[in-house]
C-alpha cells in the first residue's frame, strides 16, 4: 500500500459504493457504513492516541436517542437532527473524557466501561428514551426536495456523510495534531517533556472520537428509524473494538474493512446460529489477539512491504 497510490484506491472504493445499491440491499451497506464511521472514530483513539475506550457504545447509543427524539418529537429537519446527535455525543464525550483521562492504561479502559454503564442505566430509566422499547417510528424526513423514506435517496446521504467523516478522520491523523497524538501513543512522558499539554490533546481526541461516533449513531437511527438500548450496551462497545482489531488497529482503512466483515457476518449468522453468534465473535477476538495482531489491512501492508523488500518489525 504505497501512500502515493492510496488516493486511486479510495476513488475505486468510492466508485464501487456509488453503484453498489444496484446490486446489494442498500440498508445493509448503510449499516456497514454506520459501523465503519463508528470504528474509524474509535480507531482515532485506540490506533492513533493509544487509548482503549471500552465505553464507546454510550456515544453511539446516546446520539441515536438524541437524533431520534429530535426528529420524532421536536420534528426538526433531518440534517439538524444529525447535527444535534453528533454535538450531544461530543458533549457527553467531553464529560466522560475529562473523567477517564485522569487515569492511564487499564484503569482508563475500566473507567470508560463503567461510565458507559452509568449512561446505559440512565437511558434505561429516562422517560425520553422509551426504556426497553426504545424510540420507534422515527421519521427520516426529506432533504433538498428528496424524500428520504426512499432507501436509495437515504443511501446517498449516508454515503456523503460517511465519506465526510472518513475524510475528517483522515485529515486529523495526518495533521500536526495527529502527529502529536501519535507521539503521545508512542511515549507519553516524552511528549510531556517536549512541552505538550498531553491531557488537553487526549481530551480533544476523545471529544472528536465521541462526536464522530455520535454521527454514526445518528445515521444509524435515521437508517433504521429507531433507537434502542442495544446500541448503548457494552456488547456494542466490545463490537467496535473487535471491528478495529480485526481490520487493523492504527491503519486508515482497517476499521472500515473490519466493520464490513463483522456486520455482514452477523447479518448472515443471525438467523442460523442464535446465541452462538456471541461465541463466534469471542472466538474471532481471541484468534485476532493470538495470531493476527496486525489485523487484515495491517497484514496486507506488512506483506506488501515484505514484497518490496522493506524491513518489517
Amino acid at each position: 500500500m504505497n501512500p502515493q497510490r492510496m488516493p486511486f484506491g479510495y476513488l475505486v472504493l468510492l466508485a464501487l459504493l456509488l453503484v453498489a445499491p444496484a446490486v446489494i440491499y442498500p440498508v445493509l451497506i448503510m449499516k456497514v457504513m454506520c459501523f465503519a464511521v463508528f470504528a474509524c472514530a474509535f480507531n482515532l483513539l485506540l490506533g492513533y492516541t493509544g487509548l482503549l475506550s471500552f465505553g464507546h457504545a454510550a456515544f453511539l447509543g446516546g446520539a441515536a436517542y438524541l437524533t431520534a427524539h429530535a426528529l420524532k418529537v421536536w420534528e426538526v429537519p433531518t440534517l439538524l437532527g444529525l447535527a444535534l446527535g453528533t454535538l450531544g455525543a461530543a458533549a457527553l464525550g467531553w464529560v466522560v473524557g475529562s473523567l477517564a483521562i485522569r487515569r492511564q492504561g487499564i484503569y482508563f479502559a475500566m473507567s470508560t466501561l463503567a461510565l458507559s454503564q452509568l449512561m446505559y442505566f440512565l437511558f434505561l430509566k429516562s422517560p425520553f428514551t422509551g426504556g426497553e422499547d426504545g424510540l420507534q417510528g422515527v421519521p427520516r424526513g426529506s432533504l433538498f426536495g428528496f424524500d428520504l423514506t426512499s432507501d436509495t435517496h437515504l443511501y446517498y446521504l449516508v454515503l456523503a456523510v460517511a465519506v465526510g467523516a472518513f475524510w475528517l478522520i483522515h485529515r486529523t491523523i495526518n495533521s500536526p495534531f495527529g502527529q502529536i497524538l501519535k507521539a503521545i501513543r508512542e511515549n507519553e512522558p516524552r511528549a510531556i517533556s517536549l512541552g505538550y499539554d498531553v491531557d488537553r490533546y487526549k481530551l480533544l481526541a476523545f471529544v472528536l472520537s465521541a462526536g464522530v461516533s455520535g454521527l454514526a449513531g445518528a445515521l444509524k437511527a435515521l437508517v433504521f428509524s429507531f433507537a434502542t438500548l442495544s446500541d448503548a450496551h457494552w456488547h456494542t462497545s466490545g463490537e467496535v473494538v473487535l471491528m478495529t482489531l480485526l481490520g487493523g488497529v492504527g491503519t486508515v482503512l482497517g476499521p472500515v474493512v473490519g466493520a464490513a466483515v463483522i456486520v455482514i457476518l452477523q447479518n448472515e449468522l443471525a438467523d442460523k446460529v442464535g446465541s452462538l453468534v456471541t461465541v463466534i465473535m469471542g472466538f474471532i477476538f481471541a484468534a485476532c489477539v493470538m495470531a493476527f495482531r496486525r489485523g487484515m489491512v495491517g497484514e496486507l501492508i506488512a506483506l506488501y512491504r515484505r514484497m518490496i523488500g522493506e524491513k518489517v518489525q
Binding site: L52, L99, A100, R102, R103, Q104, G105, I106, Y107, A109, M110, S111, L113, A114, L115, Q117, L118, F121, L122, K125, W234, G238, V241, L245, G274, S275, L276, V277, T278, V279, I280, M281, G282, F283, I284, F285, A286, C288, V289, M290, R293
Partner: protein
C-alpha cells in the same frame, strides 16, 4: 419503632446485611483482580464469566451429579481455577511480552465465548438454587432477624480475604510472590520458578471468582448472564480503590456494597448507578483512587 430517614430500622438493617453480602462478592472479585494484576499486570476481563461458571457449576453439580452445596464449595473453585490455569498456559502466557491491551482483549473474547456458550446451552433464564439446610433460617438478634446464609457468606468471604492477605504479606510464599512482582528477572535468577508462580496466581485469582460464584448461587438466580453486569460494577470498585493494596480492595468492596444497600432504602432509583457515580467523583477529586499510589 425506631426510624432513620423515615425508614423502619429492621428494613434498614436488612438492606445493610444484604449490602454487606453484595460487598463480600465485590471484595472477593476485586481481590482476585488485584492479585492477578499485581503478578501478571493484566486485567482479567473474564473474571465475571468465571464467577458465573462458579455458580453454574454449583447448580449443574446438584442437577446432574447429585453433588450438594458442600461438595460444590470444595470442588467448584478448584475446577474454575483449573480452567484458568489451562487458559493461562495455552493462551495468556504468549501475550505477556506484548502491550497490556492484548491480554485484556483476549480475556474479553474468552468472556464472550464462555457466556455465549452457557447461553446457548442453558438459555438466559435463571435457575433457583436452594440454601443448604444447615444454613437455612435466621438468627434472632433481638432487634432484627439475620438470615443465617447472609451471615455465612460474609464470614466466609471475609475469612478468605484475610487468609489471602496473610498469605501474601506474611508468609515465605507471599514474599516470593512479592519479589516476583517487583522484579521477575532477578527473582528467577535466585532459583524461583516465576512462570509457575504466575500460573498459580492466575489460577488462584480465578478460583476466588469461582468461590464467589458458589457462594452467590443460593442468593440469586443462577444464569449465564449473572457475571457480566456484576463485573462492570467490580471494575468501578477497582477504579475507586486502586489495585495496589489488598486490604484496600477488600475495604472498598465491602464499603461500596453497604453504600449500595443503603441507597436501596433511601433512594431506590439510584441504587443501580451509585457505585458508578462514586467512581466519577473519586476520579475527579482523587484520580489515583482511594488506596492507589500514583495512576
Amino acid at each position: 419503632m425506631h426510624e432513620f430517614f423515615g425508614v423502619p430500622l429492621p428494613a434498614l438493617l436488612g438492606q445493610l446485611t444484604l449490602g454487606l453480602v453484595n460487598g463480600s462478592f465485590y471484595a472477593m472479585l476485586s481481590l482476585g483482580l488485584a492479585v492477578i494484576f499485581g503478578m501478571l499486570h493484566i486485567i482479567n476481563f473474564s473474571h465475571g464469566a468465571c464467577y458465573m461458571m462458579g455458580a453454574m457449576f454449583t447448580w449443574m453439580a446438584l442437577e446432574y451429579l447429585g453433588l450438594g452445596y458442600w461438595w460444590a464449595l470444595l470442588l467448584v473453585p478448584l475446577v474454575v481455577g483449573g480452567i484458568g490455569i489451562v487458559l493461562e498456559r495455552l493462551l495468556l502466557r504468549r501475550l505477556y511480552r506484548f502491550d497490556y491491551l492484548y491480554a485484556l482483549l483476549l480475556t474479553f473474547g474468552l468472556a464472550l465465548m464462555i457466556e455465549g456458550g452457557f447461553r446457548q446451552a442453558f438459555g438466559v433464564a435463571g435457575q433457583p438454587y436452594a440454601i443448604p439446610e444447615a444454613l437455612a433460617g435466621a438468627f434472632d438478634l433481638g432487634f432484627m432477624m439475620l438470615p443465617r446464609y447472609r451471615a455465612w457468606v460474609i464470614v466466609v468471604s471475609l475469612s478468605v480475604c484475610l487468609f489471602t492477605w496473610y498469605m501474601i504479606e506474611k508468609t515465605r510464599l507471599g514474599a516470593y510472590l512479592r519479589a516476583a512482582t517487583e522484579n521477575p528477572g532477578l527473582t528467577q535468577a535466585f532459583g524461583i520458578n516465576v512462570p509457575l508462580m504466575v500460573m498459580l496466581t492466575y489460577g488462584f485469582g480465578v478460583g476466588l471468582a469461582g468461590l464467589a460464584g458458589v457462594l452467590a448461587a443460593p442468593t440469586a438466580q443462577v444464569g449465564p448472564l449473572m457475571g457480566s453486569n456484576l463485573i462492570i460494577v467490580v471494575f468501578a470498585v477497582v477504579v475507586i480503590g486502586g489495585m495496589g493494596s489488598i486490604l484496600g480492595s477488600v475495604i472498598t468492596g465491602l464499603g461500596l456494597g453497604v453504600i449500595e444497600g443503603l441507597t436501596k432504602v433511601i433512594y431506590p432509583e439510584a441504587s443501580a448507578v451509585v457505585v458508578f457515580v462514586i467512581m466519577a467523583v473519586v476520579l475527579w477529586f482523587r484520580p489515583a483512587g482511594l488506596f492507589g499510589k500514583g495512576a
